[in-house]
């Protein structure tokens, strides 16, 4: 897909339009937006206004009372979310957020400045819900709702990855993710959605995972991983599925068992859990930690997330471990307990190896695998030979949600530092809480909007290029399934020669397992490199 584009064409941002944004229709150019949700999947989820339509159609076939639905939806949400009401009323348009958005930096489109993205909604709030707005109208930035605005919302609320970088810099903590979430919830009320969200959500609802893998395929994929690990290490790891009475339930983003390079991280998990002697089970029913409901509505998020606690109750496990994923951890850290808790039938996670009680998750009872593994590494419970990763010069991309919705910074770094000898940080304005999104999160990682993704990913890619040129970095580690799916395309396009992996892939490479055969290849099946010899 990326062959259609050339870096020199996408590197420069577009010019500022001369016309005022309040009257400007969304550009709706092919390659910059995602396709509409398929009726089949929308129907399965019971979503409103199911129909065949596409964003480039003139007529979006909105329900006759669409305006009323949107305005009622706004009124309802203004009463339910303090964030929404507050963020509609307190912005002073100081502009600190403007150049913090990767989409603005990449596209130059002023409506991608977080402040304007919010104004798209705020102007309608003023125009429809406040007296001055009704009287003075556009003069004070107020607009009456129109079909053109619905199209504009669609375009720009699906051109935000809810990464929350702007919120770090906002003096009032105005979080564009909240604005985008409200905007998308409203659009979904009239059946304006995108397939890359609706289809995975429907698959997940039905089968348990985004791709719609049925239980037998789920098992086959895990058996495949077990075979690969045996070939590489000579050790047979024994993961179980849907096993009652295991100590813990392990929930991963499902991409970890079918996608490349996710699967290598999956090998790493299984090897670590085997080596540490953990009594765990996977579940085919709750085989997805990722939650595309987050990108649709809080209701759908809750419907999908409910499986995790329900399954841990059915299986009678003591606590839950979660894999490397970005938005999954937003949901687990900030929503799950509130929505589907209390998890009073579970126990506070305790490492059976080190005895560490993870009391920072004493209510949710769900631990991030990086927290678990970092504890093992710190206590020296894993034999690690970092020289096996000598072919890699590694940098680490903080995924948005674990960064800005959790503060998970040191745990993955502890694992990576212990697993490889060549680790180089990107510039400080691009990591940790300042980290740049991959440009494809929040359900917009499709091929249809590739131009937007490539442009939005430019700030991240530029930071990688910096460490590639300076330190010869050739491996970009991350702990997010969407990153693993979309960063390879981004790297190939902007910084050829850099591959993408998870923290646990590096750990798996370095892990010295009891009774293993001497390693000749890494988890990707590539020959181990000598010190100083980069794989290329």
């Amino acid at each position: 897909m990326a062959e259609k584009y050339r870096p020199e064409d996408l590197r420069e941002p577009g010019a500022m339009p001369a016309a005022d944004w309040k009257d400007l229709a969304a550009p709706m150019r092919k390659g910059t937006y995602s396709h509409a949700g398929s009726p089949k999947h929308a129907e399965y989820l019971g979503l409103p206004n199911v129909r065949e339509w596409q964003p480039h159609d003139e007529d979006w076939k909105l329900p006759p009372d669409w305006k009323e639905i949107i305005l009622n939806g706004m009124r309802e949400r203004l009463g339910r979310y303090r964030s929404f009401r507050l963020f509609m009323e307190t912005c002073v348009r100081c502009g600190a957020c403007a150049d913090k958005c990767h989409f603005f930096l990449g596209t130059g489109d002023p409506r991608n400045m977080p402040v304007l993205r919010a104004e798209l909604l705020r102007s309608v709030y003023r125009g429809e819900f406040t007296l001055p707005g009704k009287i003075f109208g556009k003069f004070i930035g107020a607009r009456r709702l129109s079909e053109q605005i619905i199209k504009e919302w669609f375009y720009y609320f699906y051109q935000c990855t809810e990464c929350r970088r702007c919120a770090v810099y906002c003096p009032y903590g105005i979080d564009t993710a909240e604005i985008t979430m409200m905007g998308r919830e409203l659009l979904n009320l009239i059946g304006v959605n995108i397939n890359w969200i609706v289809e995975p959500a429907s698959n997940c609802y039905r089968t348990g995972n985004h791709l719609g893998l049925q239980p037998h395929t789920f098992r086959d994929n895990i058996d495949f991983a077990v075979g690969e690990i045996r070939d590489i290490t000579g050790i047979t790891v024994e993961p179980s599925i849907n096993r009652k009475g295991a100590e813990l339930l392990f929930v991963i983003p499902s991409a970890d068992i079918f996608a490349d390079p996710h699967i290598f991280t999956f090998y790493g998990y299984l090897m670590m859990l085997h080596e540490a002697g953990i009594d765990y089970t996977l579940s085919a029913f709750a085989s997805e930690g990722g939650n595309f409901g987050l990108f649709h509505s809080s209701e759908l998020m809750k419907r999908l997330n409910a499986k995790i606690y329900a399954e841990s109750r059915r299986l009678g496990v003591k606590w839950i471990l979660g894999g490397e994923c970005g938005h999954m951890w937003r949901v687990i850290h900030q929503y799950m307990d509130t929505m589907n808790g209390p998890a009073d039938f579970l126990e506070t996670p305790r490492s059976p190896v080190t005895g560490t009680v993870f009391d920072h998750v004493s209510s949710t009872k769900m631990l991030h695998i990086c927290e678990f593994t970092a504890d093992l590494v710190h206590h020296g419970k894993l034999g690690l030979d970092p020289s096996r990763n000598n072919g890699y010069r590694v940098t680490y991309h903080d995924s948005c949600n674990p960064a800005r919705a959790m503060g998970l910074f040191e745990e993955p770094r502890a694992i990576i530092r212990a697993s490889c000898d060549h680790f180089h940080e990107m510039p400080e304005q691009t990591i940790r809480e300042h980290t740049f999104c991959c440009g494809s999160g929040s359900g917009i990682g499709t091929d249809e909007n590739l131009e937007t993704r490539l442009r939005g990913g430019l700030p991240r890619a530029e930071a990688v290029r910096h460490v590639r040129e300076r330190h010869g970095v050739n491996m970009l580690a991350c702990i997010c399934a969407i990153d693993k799916a979309t960063l390879p395309t981004l790297m190939q396009f902007w910084v050829p020669g850099v591959e993408v992996c998870g923290a646990h892939e590096l750990l798996g490479n370095a892990l010295v397992m009891k009774g293993e055969t001497p390693r000749t290849v890494n988890l990707r099946g590539e020959p181990l490199a000598e010190e100083g010899h980069e794989r290329q």
């Binding site: 004070i140 919120a167 419907r303 809480e433 290029r465 910096h466």
Partner: protein, 331 residues
């Protein structure tokens, strides 16, 4: 258009007050307007605050800007990733006192093909100067409404005029606030992005506050009002038996008018951020959502796809590939 209109409207308000004072509408401007401004300010802010306070916060949505508290050997960032309400309060206090988020500000630029991020503290400096001098100016004014005059307002006044330039001494805050407003105004015009996002009210409120400040400076340095009479007037307003200062010049009424308008504008729009910031759910809450369960008062029941339904649909395949099945319904 927006800029000119905003300046014109603020100037018009000032001119109207001047003309009004000359045309014998002193009671209207000097008594009715301040009361109206105060009522709108207090009632408006109370309404806003009540509405924010009564609107639920369904989820913990803290934006974490530092390392979480997890493992004992990992050093947590107590302020930027607060884990207790007290730490969140400290984060908020420092945010409101020192504008830490703005202090983080960077400016992205292009250097050849690369995107580079430079430090950008001007906005922080401008806002800090504006807000802090505004506070000091308000505190200075308290000597006009408190009897007997507290010693600290005198001290404040003396420190503010420490350079002893002119009589009465030029106050530093007057100079700083004028400069800060000018900066905030000019950047909205000269920065293309800001010009694109700025609305009429952004310019107007700055013009209004500038006009109020300038009228105050004029009053102090050029028109020399009788401070004792002004104090009797202020105390009269407070005790609901207002007496206008007998020989006050028109510029006095201009100042009163502009300040009253400004007071009324506070709850009407974006200046309500002065109270709103304290309610901001991304900043005022501890990010302890895995340690402590947050309650959503409207947590709605939803339909889910249950395990039983799932097993029912895939039973054949489950059995074939060797899954354990819930015994009671199988066979």
């Amino acid at each position: 258009m927006k800029v000119a209109g905003a300046i014109a409207l603020a100037a018009l308000a000032a001119a109207a007050a001047w003309a009004g004072a000359l045309l014998g509408m002193k009671s209207l401007i000097g008594i009715a307007l301040p009361y109206a401004g105060c009522i709108i300010l207090v009632a408006g802010m109370l309404c806003r605050i009540a509405r924010w306070a009564l609107t639920p916060v369904p989820f913990t949505i803290t934006v974490t800007c530092g390392q979480q508290r997890s493992l004992p050997w990992v050093k947590p960032e107590r302020l930027d990733n607060p884990q207790r309400p007290s730490a969140a309060a400290a984060r908020m206090l420092l945010e409101t006192a020192l504008f830490r988020s703005l202090f983080r500000n960077t400016r992205a630029g292009r250097s050849g093909h690369s995107i580079v991020y430079g430090s950008s503290k001007w906005l922080w400096l401008g806002s800090m100067s504006f807000h802090w001098t505004m506070l000091i100016i308000l505190l200075r004014h308290l000597r006009l409404v408190i009897e007997p005059v507290p010693a600290w307002t005198g001290l404040l006044q003396r420190v503010d005029g420490i350079f002893h330039i002119g009589t009465p001494p030029l106050l530093m805050t007057d100079i700083i606030i004028t400069g800060a407003i000018l900066y905030l105004f000019v950047r909205r015009i000269t920065d293309r992005r800001l010009a694109y996002i700025s609305l009429f009210q952004d310019y107007f409120l700055l013009a209004l506050v500038a006009a109020a400040a300038l009228s105050g400076i004029y009053l102090r340095h050029f028109s020399r009002v009788d401070l004792l009479a002004v104090k009797r007037y202020a105390l009269g307003l407070l005790s609901f038996s207002p007496v206008l200062p007998p020989d006050a010049p028109p510029s006095f009424y201009v100042h009163i008018m502009l300040v009253s308008l400004l007071a009324a504008a506070i709850p009407a729009g974006k200046i309500s951020h002065m109270a709103g910031i304290f309610f901001s759910p991304t900043r005022n809450a501890a990010g302890d959502s895995r340690r402590r369960r947050h309650i959503n008062p409207w947590n709605p029941p939803v339909s889910t796809h249950t395990y039983d339904e799932w097993e029912e649909e895939f039973r054949e395949r489950l059995v074939k590939s060797g899954y354990d099945i819930e015994g009671d319904r199988h066979g």
